[in-house]
Every structure is written in C-alpha cells, then in structure tokens.
C-alpha cells in the first residue's frame, strides 16, 4: 500500500470518528449544560423546600426559564434562602409567586413561578415576596389522620 493511500484512508477514518462524535453530541443529546444565556439572580425564601437541589430547573407555565443557583439557611428567620438564576430574556412582575413543585407524582422538586399583575418587573438582587413551600408527605399524612380522628370524635359525641 502506498504512502499516499494510507494517509487518505487514515484521514477518512478520523473524519468518520469525528462525524460519529458529532452525531452523538448533536443528534442524540441535549446541550443543556452548555447554554450560556446571561442570567440575573433573584432570591426567594421558603419555610420548607423539601428535596430541592441546586441546578434544579425554574419553570414558568411548564417551560424552563432558569436554574437554582444556591440554597442556604437563614439562621435569623429560620427560612431557606434559594437563589434563582433566571434567563435575562424573561422578566417577571414584582408580585410574582414562587412555589416548590414536584415533577410527576413522586419526582424531583423544582421551583415554579407564577406571574403576578404588577407593571414593574423584578430586578436582579430583589426577592420574590410570595412563596409557597414544598408539600411534605409526612405532614400530609399526619393532617389526614388528625382529621380522621377528629371526625370519629365528632361522630361519637353526636351519637351520645
């Protein structure tokens, strides 16, 4: 085999390999960890965040508009302080509300933002005032049992 032929074949092999890598990267994967959209940071305080993790999505109307950047604990108010990095192309009114929701029935937690009605938009560094904490399954079960016990007590008292 001549030198020229070998070089051409090797070049072809390298091109084929590169094409395969490109196919895997572009056609069968998403570039979610590569999106370099500029973001602005907004804070939100919750009484209970459940299993919310850093890098979880921030969604509005079901569409991802940002990511959780940081989660910390405020020792004075005993609340969780969550920093949200929202895409700069999306603006929300100052009276928007943030809720900790669950993807699917028992999936991962994420933050959902519902737009309010104010004319002014929330700026970087400001806080979302209206927040709703995550639903904790144990508290829910405890409430349900307490209500059940209360109904049984009322029925017992009514019978007497």
């Amino acid at each position: 085999m001549s030198k020229k032929q070998t070089e051409i074949l090797v070049g072809g092999f390298v091109v084929l390999g590169m094409l395969a890598i490109l196919f895997l990267a572009l056609k069968s994967a998403n570039m979610a960890s590569f999106s370099f959209h500029p973001t602005y940071r907004v804070l939100a305080r919750f009484d209970e965040i459940g299993g919310l993790k850093v890098q979880a999505p921030v969604k509005s109307a079901g569409v991802t508009v940002g990511r959780i950047a940081d989660i910390s604990f405020d020792n004075k108010s005993f609340q969780a302080v969550v920093a949200l990095d929202i895409d700069r192309q999306y603006a929300f009114p100052t009276d928007s509300s943030a809720k900790v929701l669950t993807a699917g029935l028992l999936g991962d937690k994420y933050v959902g933002i519902e737009a309010g009605g104010d004319e002014k938009n929330i700026q970087a560094g400001e806080s979302i005032k209206m927040t709703q904490s995550a639903i904790v399954l144990e508290n829910l079960i405890g409430q349900f049992l307490y209500n059940k016990a209360g109904d049984a007590g009322k029925d017992g008292a009514a019978k007497k």
Binding site: V10, V14, A20, I21, K27, A29, N30
Partner: protein, 262 residues
C-alpha cells in the same frame, strides 16, 4: 516445606511482583516521554493509526450494529410491559453511550488490535530487530513503540463513538421501522435525557482511559515476551486477559467516579 522456606518463597514472589510493577511503570513513563519526539515523523503514527484504527472499523461497526439491534429488541420487551415503549430511544442511547460503547469497544480493541500489537513487538524482539535498531543508534522506543501508543490512544475514542452511533442507528431501524415505536418519541426522549457533557463526554473520557491502558499493556507484554514462538503465543494470551480485566476494573472505578450521586 518448612515455614522458613514458605516465607522465603512468599517474600521472593512479592519482591518479584513489585519489581515487575516498577518495570512496567518505567516503561509507561518512557512511552509518554518519547511521544513528542516520535511526532517529528508523523507518517510512523499515521501508518499505525491505519493498522490499528482502520483495520478495526469493520468489527467495531458490525458489533455496534448487533448490540444496538439486540438492545432495541430486549429493551422493547421489558419497556412495553410498563407501557414505556416510547422511552426505547432513551434506554438504548444511555446504555450505549455511558457503558456498553466504551467497554465493548475496549474489549474488542484489546482482542483485535492489542493482540496484533503484542505479536508484532514480540516477533520484532524475537528477530532481534529492536536490538539491531539500537546498534544503529535509532531509538526503538521512538521509532516503534511510541507511534503505536499514540495511534492506540487516538483511535480508541473514534472507535468508541462509531460503536455507539452505529448502535443507536441500528436500534432506530429495529425500533421504529420494524417494531413500530413512535419515531418522534424515540428521538425527542433521547435528546432530552442524554446530556452532552455528562453522558457523551464521560463516555469519551472512558474510551481514552481504556485506550491508554489497553495499548500500554499490549506494548509492554510484547516487549517483555520471551523471544520464542511459544513466548509470543503466551504473550498474546496474556495481553487479552490482562487488558480485558483492566478495562472492566477501570470501568467500575470510572463509573463510580462519574455517575455516582454525591
């Protein structure tokens, strides 16, 4: 055997093994050190990429297609039990890109390219070609060993990517055209579930590590083989066994590092 003899034999074995490990480590350092001088004659490396890479394409592509076909069939069987047949694309892509692509490519590479490297180096040693080169003040590590090492490290990621891509396409052919999984769901679930950096990127890192390990083992075992026909035959067997075990063990370590939850 009395206890003194047993201790002596044990001690001798441990010391010999340690010396062998050290010898291998020095060999590896030499390979890396001479990589750059050997790139001054690029045709040496190109010829080796042809011998290692191009000649492995057929088996890698065929195996990738076969694995993709089987994954699609078996995956559909189990997924349709839970009504999740639409996730077939996601299952096949993750299985191939994260694990099966790198590991199976490395095992096939060890068997195909590793044995041919070992046999070649072993026969060169048996025919005293390496010694003859040294006599002529040509460093055999620069002329013979380092180009093969670079070629192996270069070729492995490309072969791994070809394996995974052909597997995904083969699964598409079976899943969408033959079984009837929804085409849109096949690709969209795959695209939303496979991450470029965390899945594809980690898979390519794995192939790089496996390439370094397999090629180094093949070259070392060939270089240290006994200069007889039986010696070369034994060396090729040892290459495949040691490479395959190393690849599987490294895969466990890399998977634990890359994919475990913090």
């Amino acid at each position: 055997m009395n206890p003194a003899e047993i201790t002596a034999v044990l001690g001798r074995t441990v010391i010999d093994r340690l010396a062998g490990l050290g010898h291998a480590a020095i060999f590896f350092a030499d390979l890396v050190r001479h990589m750059f001088s050997s790139l001054r004659r690029p045709y040496l490396t190109i010829a080796q990429v042809h011998a290692i890479g191009n000649r492995s394409l057929v088996i890698i592509a065929a195996s990738g297609a076969a694995v993709g076909l089987v994954l699609a069939l078996q995956g559909y069987l189990t997924l349709s039990r839970y009504g999740q047949a639409d996730s077939l694309g996601l299952l096949v892509a993750l299985a191939l890109v994260r694990e099966l692509g790198p590991v199976l490519t490395a095992l096939l590479y060890a068997g195909r390219a590793g044995t041919s490297l070992t046999a070649e180096i072993g026969l060169m040693k048996a025919g005293e070609q390496l010694v003859a080169m040294e006599m002529m003040a040509v460093d055999p590590r620069v002329r013979v060993l380092a180009p093969r090492f670079i070629a192996g490290v270069l070729a492995m990621p490309l072969l791994g990517a070809v394996f995974s891509s052909v597997g995904i396409l083969a699964a598409y052919v079976v899943g969408v055209w033959m079984i009837g999984v929804d085409e849109g769901q096949f690709w969209s679930q795959m695209q939303s579930g496979v991450d470029v950096v965390k899945d594809v990127g980690n898979g390519i890192i794995k192939t790089l590590v496996f390439g370094v390990a397999s090629t180094f083992i093949a070259l070392y075992v060939g270089y240290e083989s006994k200069a007889t026909p039986e010696g070369v035959a034994l060396a090729t067997t040892r290459t495949v066994v040691i490479s395959s075990l190393s690849v599987l063990f490294l895969d466990f370590i890399l998977t634990a590092l890359m994919f475990s939850t913090p």
